[in-house]
Amino acid sequence: MAKAREVPGLHAQLSYREAAAATVRVRAEELFDAREGVLDTEDIERVHAMRVATRRLRAVLEIYRPCFDADAYRPVLRDVKALADALGARRDPDVQLDALSALAAAMPRTDLAGIDLLADEVRAEQAQGNELLAVALAETERSDLHARLLGLLEDPA
């Protein structure tokens, strides 16, 4: 998992509002920089990196909630959550398939048919998750979530 990018100039005496602006800006950049190649099911680390970035962004939005205009904030948080859910719908099967593959390697050959039966089900969920993620990514672009996130910083509470 990629380490969170440092937020420059953050210190305990900075105002909560200034810290909110600096942190959300960095976490939003982190998220949108992680978009590349996430629909590639052969490289499961990309979707993982973007999901972690989404979680971090969601966490800072919730932590700094009082610093934002409530009407602008609510739909932005809702859309970040929707993106996080779509990333989870792809990432959870990725992790399960990885775990089942490790189990298959460690268990006797006579157990493989049962493990394969479960893996087939999970693979179908992975494909569905990827479709959901493609829709969510397109919606993120269409609604210009990045600009709306940065807009929160210009129109504080």
């Binding site: 305990a12 005496q13 909560y16 942190t23 979680r55 966490a59 009082p66």
Partner: protein, 207 residues
Amino acid sequence: MKARKVKALDPDGPLGDQLERIVRVRTAELFAFMPRAGEPDEVAHLHDMRIAAKRLRYILEIAEESFGPYAATASKRTKELQDLLGEIHDCDVTLPRVLALTGRARAEDVETARTKAGAAKDLEPKLASGGPNAQAYRGLAALATYYRARRELLFDRFLVFWEALQREGFRARLEYAAAERPGGPEPSADGNGRAGEPGLRSALSTP
């Protein structure tokens, strides 16, 4: 599980003080799950405790630079706790799934046997082992055993880990660290933090 509301956050106040308020609420939220989540059958409670650990972890990731030195250790411990609870949760989700899949596989094999039997007066025993999933049962049973046994093992580890956190004084030390400001004034000689703020003495008396 909805997060507890943190009152009196001031957008124009210093970051460290606002983060301290949030950390205190999130820490209390996490600790409120015990001792109930220490019962092996309290699956939903344990799941909610994982969410509470995640919330505390994320605020500590942001706050540790603004707090005293134990905050970084607390952040690491909280991540360890969250990871452990996450592994237990995986078992809690996957075991019922394996059992349900076994049930569906058996139902399919029963239907196949019944179809092959046609209008026979009785079922040929060999039809029971010739279904499409006949080879899968052994592996499914092994998976069910694996997830059940792993869950028990991880849950025991969770209890040991939680006890170690108590011995380490996790909560009191975290609350003290949250009241410290690196480079700021030292806690006063009476053992308490800044005026009007709970410090080490009151933190140690927290249950």
